[in-house]
């Protein structure tokens, strides 16, 4: 039913035949590693899609190409203007507080003060880390850093949310809350792509792509 409904809607993310080769070593002994050999996948509004693959299969490379951190060698890519990206390693400033992080990203997303405050308070409440608002990142546990990492990607209610191994470091309660958050956002029409080497919650996903030998296949 969901598939029939969403299939008629234009995808929020369309990856078509994307290729990527890394070159390393000195010019006289250049090695080429073909990581992506024509990857295609799509995510439509209201879909929660998984991307799995072994370590080194190119999942994070593909994610970085989608968000614009890496250039692709070939293929086509269509992404929306409002993109939320939660990187695998929390990319945060150790000396800044949680509140200052929200402030910087609210400015980056061009949110007005009222929307920024509402969004911040709602995310702090949703992930249960409001008491750390005035703490510096260097004082936070790995799990709380990951919550902040995720919250920053969600602040502006993106059309497409890209999550790269988003729940590493979460305790069981936060892990459960994470999936509730994802389903809630999916129901409200957000397209979500979750990248992980291990996806235990398969029944929650609209479909799963597996990245193997540089190509993507739908597994469910």
């Amino acid at each position: 039913m969901t598939v029939t409904t969403t299939a008629a809607i234009a995808p929020v993310l369309a990856v078509d035949g994307v290729t990527k080769t890394f070159r390393s070593g000195p010019p006289w002994h250049r090695r080429r590693v073909e990581v992506l050999r024509g990857v295609s996948l799509e995510v439509r509004p209201g879909e929660l899609v998984g991307l799995v693959g072994e370590n080194g299969s190119g999942k994070s490379t593909l994610m970085q190409i989608i968000v614009g951190l890496l250039r692709r060698d070939g293929g086509a890519l269509r992404v929306p203007g409002r993109l939320g990206y939660c990187p695998q390693q929390p990319l945060l400033w150790d000396k800044l507080t949680v509140a200052e992080h929200f402030e910087l990203f609210a400015q980056a997303y061009r949110l007005d003060q009222a929307s920024a405050n509402t969004s911040r308070d709602s995310l702090l409440d949703e992930f249960g880390f409001a008491r750390y608002l005035d703490r510096r990142v260097e004082e936070l546990s790995g799990g709380t850093r990951q919550k902040l990492n995720l919250a920053l990607a969600l602040m502006h209610e993106p059309t497409l949310l890209l999550l790269d191994e988003p729940y590493s470091g979460f305790d069981w309660e936060t892990y459960t809350r994470f999936w509730e958050m994802a389903e809630h956002r999916r129901e409200s029409g957000m397209g979500i792509l979750v990248v992980s080497h291990l996806l235990a919650e398969r029944e929650r996903l609209t479909r799963i792509y597996e990245l193997r030998d540089g190509r993507c296949e739908v597994t469910t």
């Binding site: 951190l69 890496l70 250039r71 990206y85 990319l91 400033w93 200052e100 920053l152």
Partner: protein, 232 residues
């Protein structure tokens, strides 16, 4: 609160930064002037006395600013790139990051100038202030430039120190000959030495010092923006 203020606050929260800002200028001006004179006489130069003390204030500001500029750019590179991606404007993040560094460079220059005035006094304090600030801004640019290209702390800081040493030993009065064209702080150093001696520098020196400083800051800005863009 502006992005620049937040970035400046980030740097000031590192205990190492505050220690650098306070101790390095004082140490340089008190102890480095004699070393500079000794090196100059060994290399056949004429740098000595108040001129060496004045120059040591410039090098103090340069060293502190270069180090802070490097660590500002290198240590926060991942988070800055993410912010640039969210804002879809690496240039805005670059402007804020460099503006925060300029604030620290001004503080470093003020500390170095204060140490200089306390130690020997300066005949033309405003000229000296501008010259010390030029040193600080030049090396801030060198630090940010290196930090945008090299993230490893050891390699990056060594590279900043390498540029610093080459420039210091090639400066005016350090050898018997004229400073080479690549000595980036040459004009700022000549203005500083002249200010300490109570003489005014020719207009051409001021213009050249301003141009070199501006070019260095532009290069640092471009390197920062390039490092925040997509990599191939």
């Amino acid at each position: 609160m502006s992005r620049t203020t937040v970035f400046a606050r980030e740097q000031l929260r590192a205990p190492f930064t505050l220690a650098l800002l306070v101790t390095i200028p004082a140490l340089f001006v008190v102890s480095a002037a004699g070393v500079l004179s000794d090196f100059a006489s060994a290399l056949g130069g004429s740098l000595a006395g108040d001129a060496a003390v004045a120059l040591s204030a410039g090098w103090a500001a340069a060293f502190v600013s270069g180090t802070l500029g490097f660590f500002q750019a290198a240590s926060s590179r991942g988070a800055d790139r993410r912010l640039a991606l969210a804002a879809r404007s690496p240039a805005r993040v670059a402007v804020s990051r460099i503006a925060a560094s300029v604030f620290l460079a001004v503080v470093a220059a003020a500390a170095a100038l204060s140490a200089l005035v306390v130690r020997v006094g300066v005949a033309h304090p405003w000229h000296a202030a501008i010259a010390v600030l030029a040193f600080a801004l030049l090396y801030l640019a060198v630090g940010v430039l290196v930090g945008s290209l090299v993230t490893a702390p050891l390699e990056g800081s060594l590279l900043v120190v390498f540029v610093f040493l080459l420039d210091a030993f090639a400066g005016p009065g350090m050898t018997g000959g004229s400073p080479p064209a690549w000595a980036i702080s040459q004009k700022a150093a000549e203005i500083l030495i002249a200010a300490a001696a109570g003489t005014s520098s020719p207009a051409g020196d001021w213009v050249k010092a301003a141009l070199v400083t501006a070019a260095a800051l532009v290069a640092a800005f471009l390197a920062f923006v390039a490092s925040a863009r997509s990599r191939s």
